[in-house]
């Protein structure tokens, strides 16, 4: 198991480096000089442009720029953000926790809701309830999360006359207000994953329930509840884990737009601001960080296979 983790970590690190070079090249090779774009509206002299270009190191050869970026990165220095004039690292550090919290909440909502619906569907298969839930799951898969977020805000403000508090409070500062602010975006973000978890856990549960060892358990008199939960559910969790790993990318992408809609100052909001301000040093690190979260989540999924299924602990 340890070997698997180490191998995955090494590969993840390699992927992250390819990503770094890829983003680096894309920024510099796509026409549109960051300095000129940044100064496009202001009437600035050629000397000032040259000065800024030199200051940002954009006049040096590509490999040298990449080299100096890496040299800084290993010391925790990711350069200066154009728009805020502060180090990229400190801008991001303030905002990362919100996005991680939002992602975790969304996954928790998705897994709880999805498995709950999936199990009900499987236990009551082909009933009216099952059919309604299955149609609901298909619709849940296709509804864009940002539209769902907008609908929620529209609904709570017009029908319930309630708007989430506007000024953001951290989880440790004010847990109650924090969670009331995070609830709606987390649900909007989690619905699509919940829908696919529901579909998958229904079918894998049905498959497990039809297998020989379940019949044996029933024959030896294990209660139906224990069959469902201890044996059926547990064995149908593995594909659900895989699904989380696959879908986490879509979920992370959704944070950009939902943080915008719900006025949450997270990493997604930072990406949006960096895009609008053409703040490439900041944008590059944000994108990398999203990639790193994606890779880490998938690593965690791989590791947790061993936890759910003891057989996999022994496998290489």
């Amino acid at each position: 198991m340890l070997q698997v983790i180490v191998r995955r970590l090494v590969y993840g690190f390699l992927i992250l480096n390819i990503m770094t070079v890829f983003l680096f090249l894309v920024i510099r090779l796509i026409p549109g000089d960051p300095v000129r774009v940044q100064l496009a509206d202001a009437a600035v002299s050629q000397e000032r442009i040259d000065e800024l270009t030199a200051q940002l190191g954009l006049d040096k050869p590509l490999w040298e720029q990449l080299g100096s970026w890496y040299a800084g990165a290993v010391r925790g220095d990711f350069g200066m953000s154009f728009s805020t004039g502060r180090p990229v690292g400190s801008v991001i550090a303030e905002r990362l926790t919100l996005t991680i919290e939002l992602t975790i909440l969304a996954v928790v909502v998705a897994v709880l809701l999805g498995i709950f619906v999936g199990v009900i569907s499987a236990v009551r298969r082909n009933s009216l309830l099952d059919n309604v839930l299955r149609v609901g799951a298909v619709i849940g898969l296709s509804v864009p999360n940002f539209w769902l977020g907008l609908l929620m805000i529209t609904f709570t403000s017009t029908v319930l006359q309630w708007v989430p508090p506007l000024s953001y409070r951290g989880l440790l500062e004010d847990p109650v207000q924090n969670l009331t602010q995070m609830l709606l975006p987390a649900v909007a973000l989690g619905v699509a994953l919940a829908a696919s978890v529901a579909r998958l856990s229904r079918s894998s549960m049905l498959e497990v329930l039809g297998s020989d060892f379940i019949r044996t358990h029933r024959a030896k008199g294990v209660s139906e509840r224990a069959v469902m939960f201890r044996h059926g559910l547990r064995n149908s969790l593995i594909p659900v884990l895989t699904l989380i790993g696959i879908q986490i990318g879509g979920l992370l992408g959704g944070t950009v737009i939902l943080e915008q809609i719900f006025a949450l100052p997270g990493l997604g909001r930072t990406v949006f601001e960096a895009v609008n301000n053409r703040d490439y040093p900041l944008l590059q690190v944000c994108v990398l960080l999203y990639g790193a979260i994606f890779i880490l989540v998938n690593l965690a999924v791989d590791v947790s296979y061993g936890w759910v299924n003891p057989r996999m602990r022994k496998a290489d």
């Binding site: 894309v26 296709s142 864009p144 539209w147 403000s157 986490i248 895009v275 609008n276």
Partner: protein
């Protein structure tokens, strides 16, 4: 040898029409979703003819009127007819979706087929790049590329292709590796078939079903991504009536005019739902092993 080939040619193959009939018979949901897709295409193409109003011209006298009456789906803050805007919005979704999917299909399968056939270091390098690009959450990557290019419909297509090409390439690569080791390919190579022939005559036709399925599923994702980019103001520029752009304009008035937020969202969801269900049905139809 040539005689045999001639005989094989004369065996009546499944024609397109009989396949279509079989699809409609066996895949009810698929048939319904295909109908919705055709309707979506029809509305998009015929929008200039069937839309009751001009989607861009403003009518200050009747701004923010609710659904019903002269404006079936109401008007926006500038008095533009929502129904007409949604119809023209379908045009943008169709345009962006089709071009992105076709572009990624072509580029992705060339890269994938090549990598899958050649194997070795070329394949390993490419696999690393594909893994790296696919580890960036799709919307973030699209935002990144779109922001470098600036807002325009062409740039949206380019940005979305950057995220779909690796998906097509990965699929084509896996299929090519599978096909390469099949007996009929070995036989063909033994008879003197060259690399290009193996890739084009054996590889592509045999992976076509899988490529069609991911095209349909990808189409839905591209529509959502275009809407998301436009919603954030980095996609289709105003005053074009893109569905995502309409949603973002509606956010200002969601309390007084909820229809501005509701109808474009329904349009997006319906289109995506149709492409997703069609893709699923197509997968069941083309891969009988999956049908229980």
């Amino acid at each position: 040898m040539t005689d045999q080939a001639a005989v094989i040619d004369r065996i009546p193959a499944d024609t397109g029409w009989s396949e279509l009939r079989r699809f409609f018979k066996t895949q009810t949901v698929g048939a319904v979703s295909l109908t919705v897709i055709l309707l979506f295409i029809l509305v998009a193409v015929a929008a200039p003819l069937i839309a009751p109003y001009d989607p861009i011209s403003q009518d200050r006298a009747s701004f923010l009127t609710g659904p019903g009456g002269a404006h079936l789906l109401g008007t926006d803050d500038l008095g533009r007819d929502m129904l007409s805007r949604i119809m023209h919005g379908a045009q943008i979704s169709l345009y962006v979706g089709t071009l992105t999917v076709v572009l990624s299909l072509v580029i992705g399968s060339i890269i994938g087929v090549g990598a899958g056939y050649i194997g070795g270091a070329v394949d390993a390098t490419l696999q690393g790049i594909i893994d790296a690009v696919m580890s960036i959450p799709p919307l973030i990557l699209a935002l990144f590329v779109a922001s470098l290019l600036g807002p325009s419909i062409t740039n949206v297509i380019f940005a979305l292709s950057v995220l779909t090409v690796p998906r097509f390439a990965r699929m084509a690569r896996g299929e090519m590796q599978r096909i390469k080791s099949e007996d009929f390919v070995n036989a063909s190579v033994a008879l003197g078939a060259g690399r290009i022939r193996v890739m084009v005559r054996h590889g592509l036709p045999n992976m076509l079903p899988s490529l069609i399925v991911i095209s349909s599923l990808g189409y839905g994702q591209v529509i959502v991504a275009e809407a998301a980019l436009s919603f954030l103001g980095i996609g289709t520029p105003p005053p074009e009536p893109s569905w995502g752009l309409m949603l973002s304009q509606g956010t200002t008035y969601f309390q007084t005019a909820p229809w501005l937020v509701v109808f474009p969202g329904i349009a997006i969801s319906l289109a995506v739902l149709a492409f997703n269900l069609f893709g699923d049905a197509l997968r069941d139809f083309l891969d009988p092993k999956l049908v229980r």
